[in-house]
């Protein structure tokens, strides 16, 4: 199934929660959805017989200036089609629902996005850092991140 067909189906099912379909870029069209319906949309995408997106290829955090974004790359083992899904949340309150219960692989991906980008995934069972030390300050992949000078008495930069 092509991404624009999926967009039309989702639009008729979830209405305003499906915000836009963008294929103006040279590659990879994507669908933007709102955070409050993200879990339901992901659930539909995985379980509906027409989509069966059972393989979460990648989950990445993005710095979008005012907002932080999360990008989901989905793949279906049966139909071999792909979909790119995007959500965004303001940096003041970077909360996105967790999809860990839908794809178990999202557990560590979400911890990584939290660690490096500071996205807080609501409903995640263990929202702690994964790559940086547990007591590290700040989220390194934010564009405005400043490297701390001292960490536990050691010079960092």
């Amino acid at each position: 199934m092509l991404p624009n067909e999926i967009y039309n189906n989702l639009k008729s099912e979830f209405g305003d929660a499906v915000i836009e379909y963008n294929d103006t870029q040279p590659i990879d069209p994507f669908i933007t959805v709102s955070t409050d319906k993200l879990f339901d949309i992901c659930h539909t995408l995985r379980d509906n017989e027409e989509y069966l997106f059972d393989y979460l290829m990648s989950l990445s955090g993005m710095d979008l200036g005012e907002n932080v974004g999360v990008v989901y790359h989905l793949y279906s083992m049966k139909y071999k089609h792909k979909l790119v899904l995007k959500v965004s949340a303001p940096k003041a309150e970077p909360k996105v629902p967790s999809v860990e219960m839908i794809w178990r692989t999202a557990d560590w991906h979400e911890r990584e996005a939290f660690d490096l980008m500071g996205v807080i995934f609501e409903g995640h069972h263990n929202m702690i850092r994964i790559l940086c030390p547990y007591d590290w300050d700040g989220h390194p992949l934010r564009k405005d991140y400043k490297v701390p000078e001292i960490y536990h008495g050691m010079k960092v930069s």
Partner: protein
């Protein structure tokens, strides 16, 4: 203990004091600087909590201040055992963004280099796995053979381990005159050693008793954890990007996708993951033979090099089948010569996340084997 009891995950719930043991980060069997916090009940593992990040080098942050070609050496260092395979999805992504058609000869060189690197990676994987189980001889055999592959890479790229060989639009240097003969010679050696190791290690009764029926990974769990590569195929799923999402020129070659069959134990156990690697080496040999026969000897490998590497504004997610599974790169370009964001989907990172799930209920000594059968490289886990 009978096999039935070993499989019973409820076995360790009787009331007793549990103990927490720390494994690593300085431990030869964790294959790098991985730390496992293990809760054991007697000798039965009841919980495993991996702690990583000891090798975190901020790959993604560093990329944002580098130009596109400067990133390639960093990509080598993600999974330093199979650097050729790592570079491929990255350069392929940029070529697709910039709409570059790679010369025919380059495609063949890339396939041969990647498949040779796949063999080298599986040799290390099987060798260290054998060593985890207590077999030292196959380790020496494999490392002796791997050296011949590294010699070929050294002549191709000038480096033994971190090649910086794949470039956007081509490869950094042409093949040398005796390349074909040396490759065929290596294949002969690989096949000979593999036949020996099959007898010596894989079908050895002790090895089977240690590795079969432990770390069983059912296909649906593997799918939910998005496992890939031999870990996924060991569970009996025929999923290989070289066939499922054919890229480059893989559709021209005739090869099979080996899957686990539960031959000596249960489908998806440690032994199955290992035998998939052994069979894959043979398939790689087949691909290299066909590629060498078809490869055009004439042609300039640097012909399609772009003058400036400035992909248009946009984004792409590109993945390719590495030896450990699918390695993906999500590249966001803002139109300048530096990327806005590069995200590497580390195969080992994703495959490792299944460890807490599949090691519960087995003996502590089995945990080391289960970890070895996943074949992780900590450079890729921590990036």
């Amino acid at each position: 203990m009978s096999d039935k009891k070993r499989l019973d995950l409820e076995y360790s719930t009787h009331d007793s004091d549990k103990m927490r043991i720390n494994v690593g980060p300085q431990h030869p069997s964790t294959h790098g600087v991985l730390r496992l916090e293990v809760e054991v009940d007697g000798e039965i593992v009841s919980e495993v909590i991996p702690h990583m990040g000891y090798l975190h080098r901020s790959f993604e942050k560093v990329c944002e201040s580098m130009t596109y070609p400067q990133i390639i050496p960093y990509i080598d260092r993600i999974d330093y055992i199979s650097a050729m395979n790592n570079e491929w999805p990255y350069v392929m992504a940029l070529e697709k963004m910039m709409d570059i058609k790679v010369p025919e000869k380059v495609e063949y060189i890339r396939v041969i280099a990647a498949e040779l690197n796949r063999i080298a990676n599986h040799q290390i994987a099987v060798a260290t796995f054998g060593m985890d189980a207590g077999a030292f001889t196959p380790f020496l055999y494999f490392f002796r053979d791997r050296e011949y592959i590294l010699w070929i890479f050294e002549k191709l790229s000038g480096a033994r381990l971190l090649y910086n060989y794949f470039r956007v639009g081509g490869v950094s240097g042409d093949i040398y005159p005796t390349f074909k003969e040396e490759c065929l010679d290596v294949i002969k050696k690989v096949r000979k050693t593999n036949a020996e190791v099959m007898d010596l290690l894989i079908y050895n009764r002790i090895f089977i008793q240690r590795t079969a029926k432990i770390g069983i990974l059912p296909a649906d769990v593997a799918l939910s954890y998005a496992c890939s590569g031999p870990v996924f195929r060991g569970s009996g799923v025929k999923y290989d990007l070289r066939k499922d999402e054919t890229y480059s020129i893989y559709n021209r070659f005739d090869f099979d996708i080996p899957v686990g069959k539960g031959e000596v134990g249960v489908l998806g156990d440690c032994w199955d993951r290992n035998i998939v690697r052994m069979h894959e080496m043979e398939q790689s040999c087949k691909i290299i033979e066909q590629a060498l026969a078809q490869m055009p000897m004439e042609g300039d490998v640097t012909a399609a090099f772009p003058k400036k590497i400035r992909p248009p504004k946009g984004e792409i997610y590109m993945r390719a089948e590495g030896p450990k599974g699918d390695l993906g790169f999500y590249i966001v370009s803002n139109g300048s010569d530096k990327p806005e964001r590069v995200k590497a989907r580390g195969t080992s990172f994703v495959n490792l996340s299944v460890i807490p799930e599949i090691s519960k209920g087995y003996m502590f000594a089995d945990l080391i084997l289960i970890l070895g059968s996943i074949d992780i490289v900590l450079g890729e886990v921590d990036r």
